[in-house]
């Protein structure tokens, strides 16, 4: 029964599913960052002609999925399953975009870990024989997240200097079964396994310091993964975290050292890659969209070109709730890891 599982948290695939396409749509600030040249579409106007930012985010989700399908000349009707989520209450972005796409849909909430969560679940469903083509997507939008988690922008409040900036971005990946022979943007990228994260909470209560809330979860998942896969950090060309930011990354490195794991120079954080320090984004980018667009626009392309052959993509989520926060609760974190290989 458990032959596809290693230990308590890790799964390995008999017939690793492929990622055949990725698509990304971002806001102008992300477009002006170091990865600007890799994105498919950069929005000059982050309402994208809609009345509200929420409606714009919805459109970004839907269009990111459609663009990924177009790369493989596929129609939504050929997709067995859509997996995705966002940061808003009742995951309205994903739900309303799924209404337009009309693909059988399972909505996910993993905060900023959603991209890894969707890839991991999608791969498991494909390897289990429950789906052949799965679209995975995640979005976030600076202005909708501010309304959801902090204050509406209309209020004009100041941000604290330790805060990260929510990335305005939508990223989607198209996963297919190993025997797929249709059109593809990527021909060599496979998802070979992954580790399902546990919720870890070290009692961080500062909503402006989410990197610190997520770092323990990332260290926990990485330690479990290496132990259960019997691998070392050196077996990976790159260990990518989602949005720990500069402060959270330092803490992650430290926590790993405490567990006897030396990351040396193999750790990269999407939150640190997406903005340039000159853009004055304090502690880097955050949000579901941060890891989703960095993976689909940049990392997968570099891997396809052969720059590296095995990466651990570990999107990290701060499971923060404004209600729980007001009641004095801390911010739990979670991290899911996906092994992505070039073959």
């Amino acid at each position: 029964m458990k032959q596809k599982r290693l230990g308590r948290q890790t799964v390995v695939f008999d017939a690793p599913p492929r990622i055949v396409a990725g698509a990304t749509i971002v806001g102008d600030m992300e477009g002006a960052g170091p990865l600007g040249g890799y994105f498919d579409l950069i929005l000059e106007d982050d309402t994208w002609g809609e009345d509200t930012w929420e409606k714009a985010e919805r459109k970004m989700f839907e269009q990111a999925v459609r663009r990924a399908l177009e790369r493989c000349a596929m129609q939504p009707a050929e997709i067995d399953l859509l997996l995705g989520g966002d940061l808003l209450n009742q995951i309205i972005t994903a739900n309303f975009a799924a209404r337009e796409l009309a693909i059988p849909f399972l909505g996910l909430y993993g905060a900023c870990s959603t991209m890894a969560e969707s890839l991991l679940l999608g791969s498991m469903l494909i390897d289990g024989g429950y789906a052949g083509h799965v679209a995975c997507a995640a979005t976030s939008h600076f202005s909708t997240a501010e309304r959801q988690y902090r204050f509406p922008l209309e209020m004009g409040g100041q941000t604290t200097p330790t805060a990260q900036r929510t990335v305005t971005g939508a990223g989607s990946s198209l996963l297919v079964e190993a025997g797929y022979a249709g059109g593809a943007q990527f021909r060599h990228i496979f998802v070979t396994g992954g580790t399902i994260g546990r919720v870890v909470d070290l009692g961080i209560t500062d909503a402006n310091n989410m990197g610190a809330a997520m770092a323990p979860a990332a260290a926990d998942t990485l330690a479990a993964h290496l132990r259960e896969q019997s691998r070392a950090v050196s077996d990976y060309d790159m260990i990518v975290t989602g949005d720990l930011g500069s402060f959270g990354s330092e803490m992650f490195n430290e926590l790993c050292r405490d567990k006897g794991i030396d990351l040396s120079d193999r750790h990269r954080d999407c939150g640190n890659m997406i903005f340039d320090p000159a853009q004055k984004v304090d502690c880097g980018g955050s949000g579901c969209g941060c890891s989703a667009v960095t993976l689909n626009a940049f990392l997968l392309r570099r891997m396809e070109e052969g720059d590296f052959t095995r990466m651990l993509f570990m999107a990290t989520g701060a499971l923060m709730s404004p209600t729980a926060g007001m009641q004095g609760d801390s911010i739990p974190g979670i991290a899911h890891a996906v092994v992505i290989e070039r073959r």
């Binding site: 806001g27 600030m29 982050d46 930012w53 600076f142 202005s143 204050f151 509406p152 922008l153 209309e154 209020m155 409040g157 100041q158 604290t160 200097p161 305005t168 500062d206 402006n208």
Partner: protein, 121 residues
């Protein structure tokens, strides 16, 4: 016109704002909490007779910042109590600040009608 009025209005008004900025920068207090703190502080200082001298010295420099709203509330409540007793203590503060509250609603509404919020860069 006494040019020193400008000076004191600037110094006192500025000093109150500096306190607010320091609270924003050095503590984790949210803007909403600082707002409530300032209004309450204005009321308390007025009750102890400590804010009146600031108003006499700095005029609008002391009445325009949020603590000035607390001053108007406190002063109104005390004057109401003198005139109408306990009922006056309840109505006085609201009566004294009615103009400011109505203006906030009217201009807030007008701003919402005229302007469209945009994402911060």
């Amino acid at each position: 016109m006494d040019w020193m009025d400008f000076f004191w209005a600037f110094v006192i008004g500025g000093a109150i704002c500096v306190v607010g900025q320091l609270l924003m920068s050095l503590t984790r207090l949210t803007p909403a909490r600082i707002l409530v703190l300032f209004v309450t502080l204005g009321v308390v200082l007025t009750a102890f007779g400590l804010y009146e001298p600031l108003v006499e010295l700095a005029g609008a420099g002391a009445t325009v910042p949020l603590t000035g709203f607390g001053y108007a509330l406190g002063k109104g409540a005390m004057e109401g109590a003198m005139e109408n007793g306990v009922i006056g203590a309840f109505t006085g503060g609201i009566t004294a600040t009615a103009g400011g509250v109505a203006a906030a609603i009217v201009f807030g509404y007008l701003n919402a009608v005229i302007f469209t919020p945009r994402t911060k860069k």
